[in-house]
Structure formats: structure tokens, C-alpha cells
């Protein structure tokens, strides 16, 4: 069992859903990352999703695009990223998921990259531009390195395809809440609630279901939890706080906000 799978089991026994908190590493700078992580852990995040920037993030909205650009301009490199992961690993046992784009892995070679990622302390991978059709080598390497492969599905994904994607996924299945890129949304669509119910039925409890893209408030979390998700993923909202808070207050602010979100995951 992977760390991620263990975490879902543990939460189930506590009657809680998972809060997955996303941040972009190296945003606003490398030193802040560790402090933000501490804030998230203190606030009760169950799983951390660590973004590594890619120059052309087609699935991301303006907030994560900007964070990617800042991180790259400040010299983000994959070797540095692994060092940060190692530091985080020393402090906490929280499951760590890496979110980036296919080319970052492909360039280093899937296997070589994953070996390093695993030994640094990464537990799973999310690549929004990796489709199952192109995933053969990727899956093989991930299996060899005991990394969870978290695929994304969309409200317009047909059921037979949903089954195929669920089969290739480990850890959890990531349902994209909206037609659109990542970013703060103002409303919860009926089609999203329908998609959650449908995905739960199709996946048939074999795999936890997480929802992300536009999830930002405790109210959102509550609504999605009552619709049946096993995890909520909050990303751009964290980055917004990071953008707007001075560095001395940042850790506390992140902790407070995370606590509020986490409270809403308890049934």
C-alpha cells in the first residue's frame, strides 16, 4: 500500500475526507516554500500537491501561470525541487504528490526521473497533459518505482473511458470540476455534482475520487463532500493568499485558512 492509499484508509476510519493542498514550489521564492508547507501541515492538510513549474502550462489559469513564471524566473530546477522535497520529507510523513507537465518527466527519461522523485520522497504524480493513450511507458516506470499515477477525468468523459482511466489510476482519481483551466470559481455547477455521482458509480468505490479546479472555500468543500467526493483539492486559492500576504504573516494565514477548509471535510 502506498502512503496515499494508507492516508485514505486512515481518513475513512475517522469519517473524514481528504484535504489536498496544492502549492507551486519556488513561489514566491524557494525559502517561502518550506514555511508554507509547515503552515499547510499545521492547518491539517492530508496530502500535499507540489507543483513544479513548466514554461507552457496549458491546463492552468492565470494564478498558477503567474506562479509558474515567478518560480522559473527565480531559477526553479528539478534538482533543486528534489532537494526541497527531501527537506519536507525530513519534517513530515504527509503524502506528497508532484504535479507538473509531461515534458518535464520525458526530458529526463520517465524511469530516471521517477527514481529520483521516489527517493526524494514523492509518492504520486499528476500530469494534466498525459492521456491514457500515451501513458504506456509512463505507467511502466511508475509501477517499477512504486509511484501512484493520478489521472484526471472531466465531466464530459464518457463512462467506458472513465473506467479505462480509473484502471490506470492509483492513489486516487482526479475529477476536474469545471470546463476550464485551474482557478478560483464563483459557483458550483449542477453538471459537476452529476459528474461526481456518476464517477462514484462507475469507479465503484475501488478508487478514491478527488475534485479540483476552482475549489476555494469551506462552503465549496462542504458541498462537494456531501455530493460524495473522497478528497478536495485546493490550489489557486492558496496561491492567491500567498500572493497577497506579507512573508511574516504567511505561515499563520495559511494555517488558519487550511484549518477552515479541513473542518469542512469532517462529515
Amino acid at each position: 500500500m502506498s502512503k496515499i492509499q494508507d492516508k485514505f484508509k486512515e481518513l475513512k476510519s475517522k469519517n473524514e475526507k481528504a484535504l489536498i493542498s496544492y502549492i507551486m514550489t519556488g513561489f514566491p521564492n524557494e525559502n517561502a516554500t518550506l514555511s508554507i508547507v509547515r503552515g499547510l501541515v499545521k492547518g491539517g492538510a492530508d496530502i500535499l500537491e507540489l507543483g513544479f513549474p513548466f514554461s507552457d502550462p496549458i491546463a492552468d489559469g492565470p494564478v498558477i501561470q503567474n506562479a509558474s513564471t515567478v518560480s522559473l524566473n527565480k531559477g526553479a530546477k528539478i534538482e533543486k525541487f528534489f532537494k526541497i522535497v527531501k527537506k519536507i520529507r525530513k519534517e513530515t510523513d504527509i503524502p506528497l504528490v508532484l504535479m507538473t507537465y509531461t515534458n518535464v518527466l520525458y526530458t529526463h527519461g520517465y524511469s530516471a526521473f521517477m527514481l529520483k522523485a521516489k527517493s526524494a520522497g514523492i509518492d504520486g504524480l499528476i500530469l494534466p497533459d498525459m492521456s491514457i493513450e500515451e501513458s504506456k511507458e509512463y505507467l511502466k516506470s511508475a509501477k517499477k518505482n512504486n509511484l501512484d499515477t493520478i489521472f484526471l477525468v472531466s465531466p464530459n468523459t464518457k463512462n467506458d473511458r472513465l473506467k479505462k482511466i480509473a484502471k490506470a489510476s492509483t492513489g486516487f482519481l482526479y475529477l476536474v470540476a469545471v470546463f476550464g483551466t485551474t482557478g478560483v470559481q464563483t459557483k458550483i455547477h449542477k453538471y459537476t455534482i452529476d459528474a461526481i455521482k456518476n464517477a462514484k458509480k462507475v469507479v465503484n468505490r475501488k478508487l478514491p475520487l478527488g475534485i479540483g479546479f476552482g475549489v476555494s472555500t469551506p462552503v465549496d468543500v462542504k458541498k462537494y463532500v456531501s455530493a460524495g467526493v473522497d478528497a478536495v483539492i485546493v490550489g489557486s486559492a492558496n496561491l492567491k493568499i500567498i500572493e497577497n500576504t506579507s512573508s511574516s504573516k504567511l505561515q499563520n494565514k495559511i494555517t488558519e485558512y487550511t484549518k477552515k477548509l479541513k473542518r469542512s471535510t469532517r462529515i
Binding site: 513548466f54 496549458i58 518535464v104 520525458y106 492521456s131
Partner: protein, 396 residues
């Protein structure tokens, strides 16, 4: 694998569909509809009608006598895509795809553009067929190609300047993809080059193949050599594909910018590495971490860090040779063609002209070289003016 027939959307290792899941149903719908119209006589007749009566096909194949004398060697012919409506080969593809979008009952067309030629051709095809169009264009390109921005405005097309990243073609494509993800149900993405996820590279190639087919007919046979410029590579693949098994020497010319060694260029096939961008596996200009590099070319239309996956494949199997021309060589070729033949070429096409002049003298007079003159240069005269002012060049 038979050359040109992708298996599972791939040309050898290249191509594929590396796309966010939200786009999968749209891509499947596109593929299905494209297969249908490919063999649909009435669609093809309608397209032929517009190509002939609206766009101005067939385009002439012109024997450039003066340029041939200037270069001194093989006979140089120009495939005059610059004479098409809109001033470039782009209309071959936009008419095809806009007609397809109409058949698919899509209500909204989006596109990206580099130099603005594809944007203008999209706006024209959409106006002609009664479809609304919106175009993403890198901010830097809107500045250096203002005339085309205004042309799109006049045509009733909405232009969005893209200020992210390098503010050029690559970023315009990113933004168009993001729009498509957001409006996937109603919107048709009319991609302008032979790039992107399958089936775009195949579809764009097929619509552009009219160039190569006409060349064969007009030459009564095949030429010894064909040359075309390569950014994404749509005019080149349209030129090469119909002759792919005919034993013709095929040369694609990339933008060497300020020189391959300076890093300031867009010569993907000459200096790139395999990777994944914009839904496809292909050669890319990237750093050791897989971050896409900023590119440079005097021609906005070639200023792109990737290349069509079929070109990547043709390079690897050795079917096509890919060379490059620097900004300064391109300006020389631009001036030479303008003065010898009275034809002002697009800076993109001037890359191909430059290489043709270079190699013509190494070939016997009995040989024939066809250069695809993909567009006219009116859009570039300000850039050329500025370049000449900065780099005092003696007129020949």
C-alpha cells in the same frame, strides 16, 4: 509504417495526443467528422468551389528566369501561393477547416496566429462562411505585425493579444487551447499549422497538399528538388507529401535567426531535442529541464520552438533534409527576389528562396528546383525597413 499514414495518431515516435482530458471528446468528434468529409464528394466539391472561386486556385507555377540567371545553375520555379486571397497558403487550410466546423454545427471559431497570416485567413474564411471568429496572437507579434491585426479587425474578427510567456506564437497556441478547454462544447479550434494533437497534423497536411499536387500537374512530372520554409511546417508538408515517394530531393528551411550558435533562432529540427508540447511529441527547443526556450526569428511566422510531428519523422527517416537560413541571409534573399523578379516575398518564404539561391549554382542547368513561395511580403515591409536602417546594407 507507410510514410504519411499515422498509426494511432503517430508518425513513428512523433505526434500522438498529449491533451487535457476535457479535450478528448472534442478531439474524437473532430477525428470522426474529418474521416467522414475526407471521402465525402459533396464536401470536397464545395471546398474545391471555394478554393477556385474565392481563394484563387490553382496558383501559377512561375519560372523565375531572372532569379535563375542570378543564381546561375538549376532552373528555379516559384509556386505562387503568395497570389492566393489573403496573401498566403493559409487559406487552403482555413477554408477546409471552417467548412468542416460548419458541418459540425460549431457556433464559434477560435484560432492562434503568429505573423497574422493564419489569423487573417481564418477571419476571411469565417466571414465568407458566416461564422464568428476570434484569434489569439502574441503581444509581441501584434506589435510587429500591426497591419494584419487591423486587417482582422476590419474583417470583424476579435483579436486577443497574449501577454504571457514569450508573447509569440507558442503562447498564442497555449491561450487558444485554454479557451478551447473552457468552451469545448460550442467552439471549434482552427489550428493553422501542421502541429498539435492528432488529427490536426494530418488534417492540415491534407488540406495543404493541394500545393504539391498542383506542382506535380504543372511540372508534367516531378521536379528534381522542392524547397519550402518550415516553422510549424504546413506549407512544407503540403508541398512534400504528394511527392513523398517520387524520389524528389526535399528540403525544408528553418529560421536560423541570428545564427544557430547564438541560441537566438527557431531551428527546431536542426538544434532541438525530442519532447512534448501542444499535444504532440516532436522536436523542441528546450533546456535540460524540459522548459521550452524562447525563440527568435525575423519572421513571426517561423518563430516557434516546435515543429509538426511529421517533419520530425521525415527528418529521422532521412526522407527530407532540413537546413536553415539566418535573418541576414533572409533579408538578402528578400531583396534579391524583389529586385530580380518584382516579387516581394514574405520573410518566411524568403528562407526557402535563400536556400534555393545557395544550392542552384551547385546543380546543372537541366535540373529544376521548385520553391514554395508561401506568402507575399507586404506585411513585412516595415520589418525590412527597420532591419536595413539598423544594418546598413549596400543595395546590389
Amino acid at each position: 509504417m507507410k510514410i504519411g499514414m499515422p498509426k494511432d495518431g503517430r508518425f513513428g515516435d512523433f505526434g500522438g495526443k498529449y491533451i487535457p482530458e476535457t479535450l478528448v471528446p472534442a478531439i474524437e468528434e473532430l477525428e470522426e467528422n474529418y474521416q467522414k468529409i475526407k471521402s465525402d464528394k459533396s464536401f470536397q466539391n464545395e471546398l474545391d468551389y471555394y478554393l477556385k472561386n474565392y481563394a484563387g486556385r490553382p496558383t501559377p507555377l512561375y519560372f523565375a528566369k531572372n532569379l535563375t540567371n542570378f543564381a546561375g545553375g538549376a532552373k528555379i520555379y516559384l509556386k505562387r501561393e503568395d497570389l492566393l486571397h489573403g496573401g498566403a497558403h493559409k487559406i487552403n487550410n482555413t477554408l477546409g477547416q471552417a467548412l468542416l466546423a460548419k458541418k459540425m454545427k460549431k457556433k464559434r471559431i477560435i484560432a492562434e496566429t503568429g505573423a497574422g497570416q493564419h489569423g487573417v485567413a481564418t477571419a476571411m474564411a469565417c466571414s465568407c462562411l458566416g461564422l464568428p471568429s476570434e484569434v489569439y496572437m502574441g503581444y509581441k507579434d501584434t506589435v510587429r505585425q500591426q497591419q494584419n491585426v487591423f486587417r482582422m479587425d476590419l474583417l470583424g474578427c476579435k483579436v486577443y493579444p497574449v501577454k504571457s510567456g514569450s508573447q509569440t506564437l507558442k503562447d498564442a497556441i497555449n491561450e487558444a487551447i485554454r479557451d478551447w478547454i473552457t468552451n469545448v462544447d460550442t467552439t471549434y479550434y482552427l489550428l493553422g499549422s501542421a502541429v498539435g494533437p492528432h488529427p490536426y497534423p494530418v488534417m492540415v497536411r491534407d488540406f495543404q497538399s493541394i500545393i504539391g499536387k498542383e506542382i506535380k500537374k504543372q511540372m508534367k512530372n516531378v521536379p528534381d528538388t522542392v524547397i519550402a520554409c518550415v516553422g510549424g511546417g504546413s506549407n512544407a508538408i503540403g508541398t512534400f507529401y504528394p511527392m513523398i515517394d517520387d524520389g524528389v530531393e526535399m528540403i525544408g528551411v528553418e529560421a536560423a535567426g541570428k545564427g544557430l550558435k547564438t541560441g537566438k533562432h527557431s531551428a527546431t529540427l536542426n538544434a532541438g531535442k525530442k519532447g512534448v508540447l501542444h499535444g504532440m511529441m516532436t522536436y523542441l527547443l528546450q533546456d535540460n529541464d524540459g522548459q521550452i526556450k524562447e525563440t527568435h526569428s525575423i519572421s513571426a511566422g517561423l518563430d516557434y520552438p516546435g515543429v509538426g510531428p511529421e517533419h520530425a519523422f521525415l527528418k529521422d527517416v532521412g526522407k527530407v533534409e532540413y537546413k536553415s537560413a539566418t535573418d541576414s541571409e533572409v533579408i538578402d534573399a528578400f531583396l534579391t527576389l524583389t529586385r530580380t523578379e518584382g516579387i516581394i516575398p514574405a520573410l518566411e518564404s524568403a528562407h526557402a528562396i535563400s536556400h534555393a539561391i545557395k544550392i542552384a549554382k551547385t546543380k546543372p542547368k537541366s535540373d529544376s528546383i521548385v520553391v514554395t513561395l508561401s506568402g507575399r511580403g507586404d506585411k513585412d515591409i516595415d520589418i525590412v525597413k527597420q532591419y536595413l536602417r539598423k544594418n546598413v546594407k549596400n543595395s546590389r
